[in-house]
């Protein structure tokens, strides 16, 4: 049951991920953004299979909720008609596929020959919001605060950068 779910969701992740970067029907960035939503939702499914329930929720809220909306907002803001008329540079694409194929082969061989981890207990207490919160507010309290600072800086930066009279 779990194995079947894993294979279905994994295929869904890879299929939608592939359609983000290379859609045979449409080269519109909006289509890519929509398939990115599907990829991220399937990724949340994988997180659930890994007992990371809190992260699955965060993934849906932050990525599907905030990041993709931001993407769509910018795509709609900019008028991107021109992109569809451009030709694909097939030579460069072929070289890119070759290079990425080599990197992927190296990674997959590395995973194949890696020492398998020992069997672990089936109980998944690791992914609960409680365990995560415990670690986050005790051992990782300082990084947590710094991340909030980072978010403020990013917000100010985004506001500054999108001003009209940017010099």
């Amino acid at each position: 049951m779990q194995a079947a779910a894993f294979y279905i969701i994994a295929v869904l992740v890879l299929l939608c991920g592939g359609l983000v970067i290379a859609n045979p029907v449409s080269r519109n960035p909006v289509t890519s953004a929509m398939f990115l939503v599907l990829t991220i939702l399937s990724m949340a499914g994988l997180f659930v299979l890994l007992d990371a329930f809190f992260l699955a929720a965060v993934q849906v809220l932050v990525y599907a909720g905030a990041v993709i909306v931001l993407f769509l907002f910018v795509i709609m803001l900019l008028d991107l008609k021109e992109e569809e008329r451009r030709r694909v540079n097939w030579g460069a694409a072929g070289l890119g596929v070759l290079a990425v194929g080599v990197i992927g082969a190296v990674m997959i061989r590395t995973i194949k020959f890696a020492r398998p981890p020992g069997r672990i207990s089936a109980v998944g207490t690791v992914g609960s919001a409680e365990a995560l919160g415990q670690a986050l507010f005790t051992h990782y309290a300082l990084p947590f605060e710094l991340v909030s600072l980072l978010l403020v800086v990013a917000m100010i930066g985004a506001i500054l950068l999108s001003r009209k009279d940017l010099r």
Partner: protein, 102 residues
């Protein structure tokens, strides 16, 4: 079907990373390149969550939590940069942005 272990998840993660890398290399639209970067970040997240689950260690998930936060901040700033760039150049195509090229 055999039991699903860490290697299967890592292979999915590696394949997704490759898809994202391919998008960064092949696509010429800044926005799609940005989405491919998100795919690569997600692949890294998947590897971390899987490693965290199969080692029964919560630290990997903490790291993913921080990665998601930083990625959100990065997207906000990056898209603001793209908007500023579009205002100045009227393009989101990387081949039109070669001012720094020697």
């Amino acid at each position: 079907m055999s039991a699903i272990g860490l290697p299967q998840y890592l292979i999915v993660s590696a394949l997704l990373f490759c898809i994202g890398l391919l998008g960064v290399i092949v696509r010429r639209n800044v926005l799609v390149i940005y989405m491919s970067l998100e795919l690569m970040l997600n692949a890294g997240n998947l590897a971390l969550v899987a490693a965290s689950r199969f080692n029964n260690n919560v630290n990997g998930q903490i790291m993913v939590f921080f990665i998601i936060t930083v990625a959100a901040a990065e997207v906000a700033v990056g898209l603001a940069l793209i908007v500023a760039m579009y205002r100045r150049r009227q393009t989101t195509h990387v081949e039109d942005l070669t001012t720094l090229k020697l």
